[in-house]
């Protein structure tokens, strides 16, 4: 029976290429590319199989005992697949983009090696079946992303890398403490729908609240919850594909996803509610949403502005988790996917501006729409999505979050959503205005890639953002259809609130 091995294979499908790529000579470009793409497609195929199985109530579990009472568990349930498919799909796009972006750059073997490890860690995080497994891949993610952050090897990059490590390793340590403590109390806690801690004797409630705090703090570092977000804007020194992956799927999402797992499948949403843990979480998320947007307003550096926007957008997911009730859940989970698609589009575009015309600052973007219409179109779609303009992806998320807030009896959250939408508009619309309606300057800051016929920039740089931008539109328009992220999120919500 191969079923148990499918989750393991999904992990291996990027681990093995990564390890091989490490030791490839710098010049073996074609072999390297082939390995990357074969891995990416293999992963997608495996996930397709499992999607079908899970839809029909089938579960794929891989279990291996590391030590007595310490199992390594990979489980492909509905929630895992939501995240895995997102990562796998965006990995493919990002790999293509990175191949174009790093053309002729040094140390590409090292880069793609760690790039694959990074994705391995992400799918591992997605399919982790218990806290220990989650912790394992969470730490692997830290180690795999560090070399990507410092890839440029400049003093600035090294400093950013330092900050990044200081934050994430400390977060990992907290997560470890929480995990050991919880295992000591409840034995090994597998992720199960509805959670498993409700059964514990009531006198442990106090400890459970502390553990929850520790776990959320540990996960909040990667999820960039204020005030644990300090590393994220600094990590912007990394090459564009890395930022794209870090922000859309890998690191911040790992944190947010961890929070989802802890609330729904360790504590259980009802039990978390009864321990009065959800309200503080909602407040923390709301503060982060507002704070991130406010900071974004004042950034002139395009990537930094996007970074702060990530801080605020990821908090939407946490907010959705904290809203008690299926609608909030749906809103949070669907935003996990939508934010990924939209944010990766924006970072691809930012990378294109920088690579093609040397544009790094918002103030340099005047009239760029005429020089690079397609890129700017993609950027526009992403930005509108973020603001939440119907019928784009972002609108769906915010709609369900709003309904969830009412359902959970927290109407003040509506105010938060409204405020942040306004702020989003306030920091995105000026960019669009400059890009489309201001006259272009006589010369661009630094034009690397000249116009070639209809291609405003290198094809490998242009196609991925267009694809993801299109996706932003499609997932919004076809939200109601089967297999749309929304549909899948509903499926998960049903199962989480079964009891």
């Amino acid at each position: 029976m191969i079923d148990p091995w499918l989750p393991a294979l999904v992990v291996l499908s990027s681990l093995l290429p990564g390890l091989i790529i490490f030791f490839l000579a710098e010049s073996r470009i074609r072999l390297r590319t082939t390995l990357n793409l074969v891995g990416a497609f293999a992963k997608l195929a495996l996930i397709g199989v499992m999607l079908w199985g899970v839809l029909n109530e089938h579960e794929y579990v891989f279990r291996y005992t590391v030590l007595p009472g310490l199992d390594l568990v990979l489980r492909a349930d509905a929630l895992a697949l939501l995240f895995v498919s997102l990562s796998a799909a965006l990995w493919l796009f990002t790999t293509l983009y990175a191949i174009g972006y790093l053309e002729g750059a040094p140390n590409r073997s090292r880069f793609f090696g760690f790039f694959s490890l990074c994705v391995t860690a992400t799918v591992g995080v997605a399919m982790a079946g218990n806290l220990f497994t989650f912790f394992l891949f969470y730490e692997l993610l830290t180690l795999a992303t560090y070399p990507l952050v410092v890839h440029r090897g400049t003093e600035k990059a090294l400093r950013a890398g330092h900050v990044y490590l200081a934050y994430t390793l400390t977060g990992g340590a907290l997560l470890l403490i929480g995990t050991v403590w919880l295992y000591g109390l409840a034995g090994q806690v597998d992720f199960v729908q509805g959670g498993s801690l409700a059964a514990l004797p009531p006198e442990t409630a106090g400890q459970l609240q502390i553990i929850f705090l520790i776990l959320i703090a540990g996960l909040g570092v990667k999820a960039a919850l204020v005030p644990l977000h300090g590393w994220l804007p600094m990590a912007m020194v990394a090459p564009a594909p890395v930022s794209a992956l870090l922000h859309a799927v890998a690191v911040v999402k790992a944190g947010a996803f961890g929070i989802v797992r802890v609330v729904y499948e360790v504590y259980g949403i009802e039990f978390a509610q009864s321990l009065a843990l959800l309200l503080p979480l909602a407040i923390a998320a709301s503060i982060t949403i507002i704070w991130g947007s406010l900071r974004a307003l004042f950034q002139d550096d395009l990537k930094r502005r996007l970074a702060y926007s990530t801080v605020s957008q990821v908090a939407y997911i946490v907010l959705g988790v904290a809203l008690f009730g299926p609608l909030g859940t749906i809103g949070g989970l669907v935003h996990l996917v939508h934010q990924g698609i939209m944010k990766i589009t924006l970072f691809f575009c930012a990378g294109n501006y920088a690579e093609t015309l040397g544009i790094h600052k918002v103030s340099e973007m005047n009239g760029v729409g005429r020089r690079m219409p397609w890129t700017t179109l993609a950027f526009t779609l992403g930005a509108f999505g973020m603001i939440g303009v119907p019928p784009l992806a972002g609108f769906i998320s915010k709609w369900y979050l709003g309904l969830g807030a009412l359902e959970a009896g927290m109407p003040w959250v509506l105010a938060v959503l409204a405020a942040s939408s306004l702020l989003n508009a306030a920091y995105f619309l000026p960019i669009l205005h400059r890009a489309w309606f201001r006259p272009p300057p006589t010369a661009w800051p630094h034009e690397h890639i000249p116009q070639r016929g209809r291609w405003e920039t290198a094809p490998l740089l242009l196609l991925p953002p267009l694809a993801t931008a299109a996706a932003t539109l499609v997932v919004g328009l076809l939200a109601a259809s089967d297999f749309s992220p929304l549909d899948w999120a509903k499926l998960i919500a049903d199962r989480e609130y079964l009891q």
Binding site: F23, L67, F135, L143, A173
Partner: protein
Amino acid sequence: MTDFLDPLPWLIVLPLAWGTLAFLLGPGRGGRLAVAAIALQGVLALQLAGQLIDSGARVYAVGGWGASLGIDLMADGLAAVMLLLTQAVALPLAVYARGYFAAHPKGRALFWPMTGFLLAALNALFLSADLFNIYVTLELLGLAAVGLVAIAGGRQPVTAAMRYLFATLLGSSAYLLGVALIYGTYGSVSLVVLTPLIHSGAPLAVTLAAALMLLGLLLKTALFPFHFWLPPAHGGAPAPVSALLSALVIKATFYLVLRLWLELFAPLTTVAAAQLLGVLGAAAILWGSVLALTQSRLKMLVAYSTVAQVGYLFLLFPLATLVPPDAADSAVQGGVMQAVAHGLAKAAMFATAGSMIVATGRDDIGHLGGIDTRLPLTLFSFGLAGVTLMGLPPSGGFSAKWLLLSAALETGQWWWVVVMIVGGLLTAAYVFKVLRRAFLPVAEGDHVARVPRTLEFSAFALALAAILLGLFGAPLLDLLAIGRAA
């Protein structure tokens, strides 16, 4: 004829024999012989472990006399684990040393005979069940280690060796005095005979003996504040020697502390004493890590990291003394796992450090730029070893940390949790201090040469073993349980 092939005595005879033969062959010779012989020792150790799994711990009466008149050897799970570790570390290091001394001939002349005697001493020590015989093995071990430190000559190594010699002699003298008191009290030095005799009401002489023996062994194990001799000795010796010393030699004396504490002197142990050992361990972790962070020489950094990692070993005593048995078990398992994981990882780390020094021609962290492009496998191995020392999963270091952490939380001693977590973060700090340098491009005026393949792969094998230990640690724990009346 089966007696003739009994692995137990051969584990001691074989290294003595090939060490002597290597000396006979002449300066610098005997490397190939050593590799073959150590491989054979590995087979013997596995065979012995198999015997234990089949039929439990065994006692071996040398010369057929038996205690108390004769000397007994004893093989239980703990001894078997240490024997496996010793051969597992020694084999890749022997391969490494052949390549290293080919590229870097200083001190190769008598490396092989001394290493043979060193391994003989280790195997004999792990198997001995006779207090005085243990003293002899300690001296054999100590002199071999000192000789190896001085083997390359030069001011710093010879000074380090001198200091090391005084430390190790003082330690074994204290131990010998303890043995004298024990014999003077009971009239025997056999562990088998003595263990049932010692009870909580034992006379002052026995308590004194226990204190002296443990102190002597702590000095030899370089537990803070007795660590002063270790960094110069391990940092100054040739890389293969540093690896042997950090990975195995200090583990031998730790093994004795553990044995005496858990078995012979168990009735005399107190919570206060155990907490004291834990405090010293914690101090070692913090102090060693901080000093490692301030080093500018790569091998000194790794040496101070050993000072810190030794501290983790001693956290097991407060967690295993006078607590519920299951907590004690997981503490002991954690401590032994840490000994094994650190042995493999530290050997790998010193080996990779040696390769980097050979490649850059200098022992300076500031000049590691370009290592990642010229010696990717070496740097990767260093990273893997670092992961184990940090205690990140999946690695032997993590399994050890996990077991110790659970024991700490189970017995409500949360302060050790804090120490372990902080220690882990400090470890990350000094490991990445090296890695980030290695990621930089080659600096002007520097030149990074390639090194022999054997150097890269032998080190990688060690690092990989340290990682795999995290995934396949369960069988090791089963083996460890044999003969432990827990």
